[in-house]
Symmetry: C2
Subunit: 110 residues, 2 copies
DNA sequence: ATTGCAAGTCTTGCTACGCAAGGTTAGATT
DNA sequence: AATCTAACCTTGCGTAGCAAGACTTGCAAT
């Protein structure tokens, strides 16, 4: 559908910070994030999440930790870093500013 | 800067509909759009606009018209089509929905 | 024991967008 | 004639999200 194409493009550059926002409440593992983000309509499949997490790991925004204590196969839990928290703050500002501009344009065209 | 990198990614998928919103008030030519979008922080250079206009033209969202009546070199004026208006409406819905999700996440992480 | 299932992680190949840099054309100015 | 400038467009690049699927591990049922 055309709506999905629109959403796909909108998600670009947003997803990374949604993950940071989710992690700001405490650590979560991959599928847990994937389910949450899917429910919110922020990803279409895990195919976006795992590569993203790898990038964020390399950039020092999140810190992973294997946990095999529970039942089932081992999970990789991610925690947000100080760097990640900083980026989240910066994003919130850029998002607010750019969002306001878009809202203004949409508002003006009805 | 890191802010510009964030903004660049956020612009993906938004720009197209900002152009449609601007055109919904009446036709405009390329540089006029570029100046307006630059002022609003929605593009970083014309390098995003002209390829975008070409795509939109091919997809029937806008209808161009050469105008050489004025002074200076001829301008290509773009008008929004019915298809374009429809897409703009669809975008407004997707934007509102996805934006609300992002706002909720950001709100919850302070 | 073996088979099958489900949860969990990750990879590959693809498409599309925005951008920087630069190139082109046509009228205006000197 | 030469230059300037507004306006148009192109090329090559980096990167993000996605669909599809592969691999691994524990658990349950037969």
């Amino acid at each position: 559908m055309t709506e999905e194409r629109i959403a796909t493009n909108l998600r670009k550059g947003v997803l990374e910070y949604c993950v940071l926002a989710l992690l700001s409440h405490g650590e979560k593992y991959g599928l847990e994030l994937a389910d949450d983000l899917t429910t919110r309509g922020l990803i279409a499949s895990e195919g976006s999440l795992y590569p993203l997490l790898a990038r964020m790991r390399e950039n020092g925004l999140v810190e992973p930790r294997w946990d095999a204590s529970g039942t089932g196969r081992p999970r990789r839990y991610y925690a947000i870093t100080d760097d990640g928290t900083g980026q989240l703050t910066t994003f919130a500002q850029v998002w607010a500013s750019l969002g306001a501009q878009v809202d203004a344009l949409l508002e003006g065209s009805r």
